[in-house]
């Protein structure tokens, strides 16, 4: 009986070792053009599905047909699902980029940029934003040592964040923070980690202020904290401006509520934050916006909740 168990143990170990070896040796790849998946190699073979740009592929076999290279691949049928059934088939080899492709990181990144631009254009290719994040995601997966890896991972996470924001507005589906957090974990103290941390602030903002002071107080503190914790971030000036602008809004909210002392305190806070932008930041646009905001605060021009300035003064 004991011997029998030992045999099973041995077989199990062997199976695990084989799986690990296969995983280590499996050639991963992606696609830089949409292609049809065929049941066999060759242009005339039956097509079973369309494979999108940036899909995660595992190469099973290589072949030649009609003088062209073909690869047999396996892939998850649903590229976004945690668990998905697997599909296999043949793809033309020329659009498949693997970790062994020379300058493969740049090729995938270049196609991702192209897809991102398509997504931004009016009348651009349908699904281009999804293509872009998938392609960007493949760069750090296939080329973890590439100088483009951090930027690609950040861009993939950012596109997914922007798409989930749209979903949240449409359907109330919670925004997925996982991908931004992965950027921070994998590339700590990098520019990309700072940008990811800035994106994450959006998840903590109020949906509506409803004219109450609570939200701008909290949001101003969040932005100010970000600026102090990430002094090297490209978003420091923007964070400080957002903090200052919320203080300016508080000036108006308190004024409407006839709380003059709190209104004056918020005005002073707003001016102090905007002055930090003027003195510490290089970006011309943010400096000018800060100058404009300081002028409005000093001259008591309302910034929040007004379409048309009637009296022009907040007293």
């Amino acid at each position: 009986m004991v011997r029998h168990w030992k045999k099973i143990e041995l077989l199990l170990l062997f199976a695990l070792a084989t799986a690990a070896l296969f995983a280590a040796e499996a050639e991963h790849a992606t696609l830089i053009r949409e292609e049809a998946l065929s049941i066999s190699a060759g242009a005339n073979a039956q097509k079973t599905a369309q494979v999108s740009r940036g899909s995660a592929l595992t190469i099973l076999e290589r072949s030649q047909a009609e003088g062209q290279p073909w690869v047999k691949i396996s892939m998850a049928a649903d590229q976004q699902a945690q668990i998905s059934r697997e599909v296999t088939g043949w793809l033309p080899g020329k659009a498949v980029v693997t970790a062994a492709t020379a300058s493969g990181d740049e090729i995938i990144f270049g196609q991702a940029v192209d897809s991102e631009r398509q997504a931004e254009e009016r009348g651009g290719r349908k699904g281009a934003a999804d293509d872009a994040w998938r392609l960007y995601s493949r760069v750090p997966e296939l080329f973890p040592g590439s100088p483009l890896a951090a930027e690609a991972m950040w861009r993939a996470a950012d596109i997914r964040w922007q798409l989930s924001k749209t979903d949240f507005v449409r359907s109330g589906k919670p925004m997925e923070e996982k991908y931004l957090r992965e950027v921070i974990a994998k590339y700590p103290q990098s520019r990309q980690a700072e940008l990811a941390a800035y994106d994450l602030l959006e998840g903590q903002l109020c949906q509506e202020w409803r004219g109450l002071a609570e939200c701008p107080i909290k949001e101003s503190a969040l932005y100010e904290q970000y600026a102090h914790e990430h002094p090297q971030s490209p978003k420091v000036a923007e964070a400080l401006y957002n903090a200052a602008w919320r203080q300016a809004a508080l000036t108006d909210i308190y004024r409407i509520n006839n709380d003059r002392s709190k209104s004056d305190a918020a005005r002073q806070n707003g001016i102090a934050l905007a002055r930090q932008i003027q003195s510490q930041q290089q970006d011309q646009d943010w400096k000018m916006r800060a100058t404009d905001l300081i002028y409005k605060l000093e001259k008591k021009i309302p910034v929040y909740g007004v379409d048309v300035v009637d009296s022009g003064e907040t007293k």
Binding site: F109, M288, T291, D292
Partner: protein, 326 residues
């Protein structure tokens, strides 16, 4: 009553012509504001004046109670499409008027312009924010011609106008005409002004790049002469503006058009196809070599060029007939 209005207008016009331009207090407004007949919130309302409106003359200021008012001559649109305007005079809260007498007035207006431009780019941003931004930027150049922000202000004003007109032109049926001479061109007056007033600057280079739009075919209709001509235009630009921030983009556009020609010529015109392939490869290599890697805004061009070269080497299509144009 009519006579008094006429007399007032006459007085203003005489005053305007007598006072030298540099002594006049001129400027714009930085918030949408209600204009009144007299410095009194209860007086008759004249019009709403939007951000960036031209205030060619601030006639007087007066303090009533705690409120300071400015008596201004302001130019408002009568018909935006016909571009007709009229001058009106009235009273507005003084603090929203930024004039040549305001310390750092150029910076305040520029900041308000950036803010409006940002609003225009946001989904659900303020209506008319792009036009506000355009006017505000122009005012910086108009009334502070010696400001370090003047060139940038004029360029941004011209660019916003260009983008708005471009979007408008694209909606017209003539926008699909192959021959660019058969469609209404985008008005390039302001672009030419940028090049004239700020020659040999980044702004002049950017203006020249925008002006290529007017020379592009509305549609290629599968004919090779369009991508050939367009590739030449972009390459010529890159050669003539070697310091431009748009050099890499221009060279990439030239290369991409040559790559499209490779497909269009196909196997039937082997000689032309090979010539286009070689040209595309050479141009893409130049993009890769010239692309700055340090600037995150320019990081994209080298990978795009590498991807284009890979596609050319592997025979992967880069061009799909309309509407997938770059």
């Amino acid at each position: 009553m009519k006579l008094r209005t006429c007399a007032l207008l006459l007085a203003i016009s005489v005053f305007s012509s007598v006072v030298p331009a540099q002594q006049k207090e001129q400027g714009t407004i930085i918030s949408e504001v209600q204009m009144y007949v007299s410095p009194d919130l209860n007086s008759q309302k004249l019009a709403r004046a939007t951000r960036g409106r031209d205030v060619p003359l601030v006639m007087e200021r007066t303090k009533i109670g705690e409120q300071t008012w400015a008596h201004v001559l302001i130019i408002v649109d009568v018909n935006r499409d016909a571009e007709t305007t009229r001058q009106i005079t009235g009273w507005v809260p003084s603090n929203v008027v930024i004039s040549t007498a305001t310390p750092n007035g150029d910076q305040i207006i520029f900041g308000e312009a950036v803010d409006s431009e940002n609003q225009a780019e946001q989904r659900g941003g303020r209506k008319g924010a792009a036009q506000d931004a355009m006017r505000l930027y122009y005012r910086v150049y108009d009334y502070w011609p010696n400001s370090p922000l003047a060139g940038e202000g004029l360029w941004r004003a011209a660019d916003i106008r260009w983008q708005l007109e471009k979007a408008d032109v694209r909606l017209r049926p003539s926008s699909r005409e192959m021959n660019p001479d058969l469609r209404t061109p985008i008005d390039d007056e302001n672009m030419k002004l940028v090049m004239k007033k700020f020659p040999h600057t980044k702004f002049a280079d950017l203006a020249a790049y925008n002006m290529i739009d007017n020379k592009l075919c509305g549609s290629w209709k599968g004919e090779t002469k369009c991508p050939e001509k367009e590739s030449e235009l972009y390459e010529k630009y890159a050669r003539e503006h070697p310091q431009s921030p748009k050099v890499a983009e221009a060279l990439f556009n030239a290369a991409w058009r040559q790559a499209a020609l490779v497909q269009m010529y196909g196997a039937q015109h082997e000689k032309e196809r090979d010539k286009s392939r070689n040209k595309a490869m050479a141009l893409a290599q130049e993009v890769a070599a010239k692309s700055a890697t340090g600037d995150p805004k320019l990081i994209d061009w080298k990978p795009r060029a590498t991807e284009l070269m890979y596609a050319l080497q592997q025979g992967i299509p880069t061009y799909t007939p309309e509407p997938d144009r770059k």
